[in-house]
Symmetry: C4
Subunit: 284 residues, 4 copies
């Protein structure tokens, strides 16, 4: 019994220790406020940036030829480091499956899997495909967005103007499709407008004022229509700008309204120049 | 007499049934609020998108060579479907001629006619022209704009700023014509500026910051003037943006502030949810 | 004596008639409010547009080869018409010299002189130069700006923000000069950056997001720096846009402020929600 | 003793004279308000512009070949003039070392050193490097920013929106890296996307709507993805514009409305020229 009790107490102790340990781990990994959490986030951020840089250099032919072995070792170092981090996240979190199948869980997993797959699936003919898979690890960079919490007002402004932006994009899409088709009819296959999708691609390149010049109109009518598309594209940029600006101004206005509460009815949201509560008429 | 009465009643019944049937048809086709109307609109939208995609694929040479027959069948399927829809619209509407000669009526008609014309006018030498006619069916996409009713505020802002935008476009046009002519004189035919219209085309390409690079200045004076046009074009975009933004902000402001005046002190500018005057506390 | 009196009276009559005639002429030419003035302006506008179009077509080699004689006749027709208009303006106006040496007077004169000069200065070797002179008549289009009076608010906004825009342009100029010089050092003459002015031209082409592609960086460092210039140019456009927009909003705000005058002190410019005069405290 | 006293008084006199002389020099060089200071600044500005122009012309091969000697003399004239100015600044200022190691001190020094270095380090093989060093003198132009004090509101607006702009640039960077990598996988080395860094360079060129056309997608999937990047880049410009505009509007609003409160009714938001409360009429 004593032993049983001991074992029970030991279990409780152990469970306590594990629980504390998990709480501590959760604090380090998922919270950014504590010193330990901040340090963890900073190290992780630097590791992600370094691993992305490794993938970049690996894609440069001349660099890979000279430093291929170093890149391979670095690649495995990052993969193992991120694997440990992934396992630590699963242990630390209350609902592991929910994390694994969340957006960030999938991104985390897809940032370590390709390297392991390159071992399981050997063979020269698969190598190129595997190298391509490895590049998907670029999605590690999505982790960076975790560190961006300053964008709340921007997202709110974009969310508030989503209907107007949809209408705008719909108008642009219609414009681009009609113009692209007209240009296909006018310029034809001789001048590089070989199909309607390609003409629409040209119309997008032109309307967004990118203007590669790989396809360009050569007939007088084509150049006239192209001028029209350019001027529309040049002027129409005012519309999303106006939408976002007026939304941002409105959000700013709302947050600037005094936070005074009426002493009688407790209502808030009074204008800065209000002397009486707009709801009950009481003095502020 | 009984028979006559019966026939009369039958006629009334029939007319009633027809009337009901037409009302129901009108509801389905022209109204988007009822479940049936919504379903009809969704199906029509998908059909239009699919038919536009068919036209796109038909213009890609390699695709047409392989799947030409399937595209032809699809083409006829869409044409017959849209023809039935067109006839249904004529039956359902009170004033058919007004619809047929309205903008949407003409677009609807021009989206089905080319396919029929390709049968009536056979002959190998006409085929290419007919194929071109078929492409006009791209205007079907204009139907999409019916589904966009969210753009009211945008259109109002653009309408309110139409005079300012006209002045802006007039200034841009003058600028482009003068600059184009100057560049024709400076660069001349050797450097690709073969005529004034072509030089104006180049000025538009440059001022709207599209910059294809198919025509580019080569002399020092030409490049200096081109730099000036670029900076003007780059800075002047601020003008339409400023116009549209201040209009949108004004529209938002107007719709957000009620125009109620306080019956006691006469103050205005109360929030829409105000029950008491924010200045003197009087009841609104 | 009777005759002298008659002659004196005749002189007065004549002077009266001339005076009336001049007033009428002045009304037609310089005022746009009366029906006759409106008609004159419309006809003049159409003539200017037609003459500009003639100059355009004259510069297209293939068109001039076929219709050269018609263009020459048209050219002389426009020159004579504008000469008559020019003389009429001098007669109608009170201070002719002031008009001739004003901006519009010089533009009007320079739009008719080249054609006459082409007669006085014959000789095959001068012909090309004269043709070039003729093209200066494009400045006729400046007359179009007379018809643009809607732009007052725009000009006011641009005038109010001229200091901020100067600072902005100064910053852009400094940026473009430094970046251009750095690119000359990095890319060098092998990659098309043959001199600092040319590199600065490239920097302007890039920063204004025009991007011809006639000169493009090829080294890794050059492309990195170019990316930096692009992002600066892409983001910095927000500055003039913000300046103009906030000016336009301020102008709109000022014109929206109620035009109520204080019944006691007569002061204006009260806010829409003002109940008392902000100057003397009297009830509005 | 008398002599000692004299000498002491002389020392005080000398120190006074030196002190006055230094104060006067400081006034001329560092202050722009006095007439002498204004004249000094104007002359310096013109000298800087002339010296920058000399560097420009020196880089144009054909010009240097003809006027090389003149440019060399001018170069030495500017270097000596700026050296005198540099020494004068050190004498005039209270803490010379702090000036020398400040941003402007380093810029001033780096604008004279390269010419002297070209004497100390002779030898044909160093010449090109030295010529390159000489070009760094372009940083003289940074002095120009001293004359720009109008930009305070602009800088304040940019400072206030620095967090939002960081989030925006972070989003753009993530977008550009992911898109660049995807394009490397899709287009591959055959179509010019030879490495990930180069693909990212292309993504920046496209997203900022510069569009050189030196690298352009050729596959259908690549062109579709490129269209997406273009539309994102075209639309996303609205975000920094909106940020800066709303900041500028807020700054204008704050500086235009006095924060005075009515002593009787407590209302705020009075115009700067208000003498009485606009709500209750009480004296402010």
């Amino acid at each position: 019994m004593g032993r049983f009790t001991f074992s029970e107490e030991g279990a409780i102790d152990k469970s306590r220790i594990v629980s504390r340990w998990r709480t501590r781990l959760h604090e380090i990994i998922f919270e950014a406020e504590t010193p330990a959490g901040k340090a963890f986030d900073t190290v992780l951020l630097l590791l992600i940036l370094a691993s992305v840089l490794t993938v970049f250099l690996d894609s440069v032919g001349s660099f890979r030829a000279r430093h291929g072995t170093v890149l391979l070792y670095l690649e495995w170092f990052f993969t193992i480091a991120f694997s440990i981090e992934f396992i630590a996240r699963i242990i630390a979190i209350g609902k592991p499956l929910r994390y694994v199948f969340s957006f960030y869980g999938l991104v985390d997993l897809s940032s370590i899997l390709p390297t392991y797959l390159s071992v399981i699936l050997p063979g020269s003919q698969f190598l190129l495909v595997i190298r391509a898979l490895r590049l998907i690890r670029i999605f590690r960079i999505f982790k960076l967005t975790r560190y961006l919490t300053e964008g709340a007002a921007l997202i709110q402004a974009l969310r508030a103007s989503r209907y107007k932006i949809t209408v705008f994009l719909g108008t642009v899409a219609t414009c681009v499709i009609v113009m692209g088709t007209l240009m296909y009819l006018i310029e034809g296959e001789r001048n590089g407008f070989t199909s309607i999708p390609r003409s629409i691609y040209w119309a997008i390149v032109t309307m967004t004022t990118v203007g590669y010049g790989d396809i360009a109109p050569r007939t007088v009518i084509g150049q006239t229509l192209a001028s029209l598309i350019m001027i529309i594209g040049y002027g129409i940029i005012a519309v999303p700008t106006g939408i976002v600006t007026s939304e941002l101004a409105a959000i700013r206005h709302k947050t600037e309204i005094s936070t005074r509460a009426c002493p009688e009815c407790g209502a808030q949201g009074h204008d800065p120049d209000a002397a009486h509560c707009k709801h009950c008429g009481g003095r502020l």
